[in-house]
């Protein structure tokens, strides 16, 4: 259990997917304009990440690795993710319309979100077990949410600041993302202290 917690917290704070690994930058910049959309997108990402990790792990362990089909990994994983997103979308639409209304618009964007494919491939690269993979995915998703949540707050201030014209919009957004990323340096070393 301790190992699981270490993986979870490392993925959230130390190796934050957005600010330290640079995965999922596109939605990070795209939907961080206000807290509501940021939360919607993050929820959708967390759900897809966890389920995608739970699905790709057995595929890799019982199909691709034993049959020596490693070269199909990228293709198979992206197909699984795309299909999963489609299924979740259809399911939500039929079963929980209210949730679909909240998350539905973000779901199609997730297929091309590199953080989702990234977490499934990282699970394989790190030789994680099934549960470690799921915890890693949950951590990655929560880390994504934390980064988006914090950053949407920063952005609402930055957007109203008086800055040079050519820095307006994305340039200043990126510079402030850099500052948020520096603040996450404070978490490094934390895991070592917490669990030793």
């Amino acid at each position: 259990m301790r190992e699981m917690l270490i993986i979870l917290f490392s993925a959230i704070l130390v190796d934050n997917f957005v600010l330290s690994r640079f995965l999922g930058i596109c939605p990070f910049l795209g939907v961080s304009k206000n807290v509501k959309t940021a939360m919607g997108m993050s929820m959708a990402v967390i759900i897809v990440m966890v389920i995608a990790s739970a699905l790709t792990w057995p595929v890799q362990a019982y199909l691709l690795s034993p049959l020596n089909l490693g070269y199909l990994q990228t293709g198979v994983f992206i197909v699984i993710i795309a299909a999963l997103v489609q299924i979740i979308e259809t399911f939500l639409k039929k079963a929980i319309p209210s949730l679909y209304k909240a998350l539905g618009i973000y779901l199609p964007l997730i297929t091309t979100n590199c953080a989702v494919l990234g977490v499934t491939i990282l699970n394989v690269d790190q030789n994680y077990t099934f549960f470690e993979s799921v915890f890693n995915a949950a951590g990655a998703g929560l880390g994504f949410m934390l980064a988006l949540f914090l950053f949407s707050g920063v952005r609402s201030k930055v957007d109203r600041a008086d800055i040079p014209k050519f820095m307006k919009g994305l340039p200043i957004t990126l510079v402030s993302a850099g500052l948020v990323s520096i603040s996450f340096f404070g978490f490094k070393g934390l895991i070592e202290k917490l669990f030793s």
């Binding site: 690994r21 640079f22 795209g30 070269y71 990228t74 992206i78 197909v79 820095m167 957004t173 850099g178």
Partner: protein, 259 residues
């Protein structure tokens, strides 16, 4: 074809600055930030993506009359994933050092918005030769942006260029290396400043030759340049088109794209 038919040279040129995929269209931001700690990585990533771009543009342009509209996106993704896996295996076999430093970002070329966006916006509407040229131009534009970022970060952050130490920038020289530049925050800083510079330059160019201004037919691209926030261009257009096909109407008036 429309009256403003472009020559092949223009197809090639547009990727370099005016529609530079990284600095103007803001596609493929993840690898741009992640692998540009050195010039070498930038070139490696850029060339790998260029190969995939040319290959997928070629294949999709060839198959544009064969692929049914309904399964268009899955077919593109299959083709792109195929080329990415081929590149991955070649890099593993012949460039192990590059494989180590690019790591997970090689398979992630599959979901690089640039490639899907070019397939969706260009290759499936144009003949083979322009598509290949478009892929080449976009690829070189991507590579040059990556090399520029890698160069700046490596020189300031590590005091080296192409792994060659620059004596004045080493510890003990005039300026100590500023390590933050090769750490994640430095990526954000350099990228932000470069985009600001590209915007400035592009504005100047537009003023100089007003006649050539492209009205940016694609609303998504226009939106990006205006609002400069939607980096999910490929995803945006695909997302909205999925919905149109399904007759999806969101009552609350939400759009997948942010303003």
């Amino acid at each position: 074809m429309s009256p403003r038919r472009k020559t092949l040279m223009q197809e090639f040129n547009k990727g370099l600055l005016r529609e530079n995929p990284v600095l103007r269209l803001l596609l493929g931001t993840c690898p741009t930030l992640a692998v540009t700690t050195t010039v070498k990585n930038g070139i490696g990533m850029g060339l790998a993506a260029t190969f995939v771009l040319i290959g997928s543009n070629l294949m999709i342009s060839m198959l544009r009359k064969v692929i049914p509209d309904k399964v268009r996106i899955p077919a593109y993704i299959t083709v792109i994933a195929g080329f990415v896996s081929i590149v991955q295996m070649l890099i593993q076999a012949y460039l192990p050092d590059l494989n180590k430093s690019l790591g997970i970002f090689i398979p992630l070329i599959t979901v690089n918005c640039i490639i899907l966006a070019r397939a969706e916006m260009f290759a499936n509407k144009n003949p083979i030769l322009p598509s290949v040229i478009d892929g080449l131009g976009m690829g070189i534009g991507f590579t040059s942006a990556l090399v520029l970022m890698g160069g700046i970060r490596e020189i300031i952050g590590n005091g080296t260029f192409f792994d060659m130490p620059l004596p004045v920038l080493q510890a003990g020289g005039w300026i100590e290396p500023t390590i933050i530049m090769i750490l994640p925050p430095g990526g954000f800083f350099v990228f932000g400043v470069l985009i600001a510079f590209a915007n400035y330059l592009s504005e100047k160019l537009d003023k100089r030759d007003k006649s050539q201004i492209d009205p940016l037919a694609d609303s998504c691209v226009g939106a990006i340049n205006e609002k400069a926030a939607c980096a999910m261009c490929g995803a945006c257009s695909i997302g909205t088109r999925f919905r149109e096909e399904e007759g999806f109407k969101d009552k609350s008036g939400h759009q997948p794209e942010v303003k």
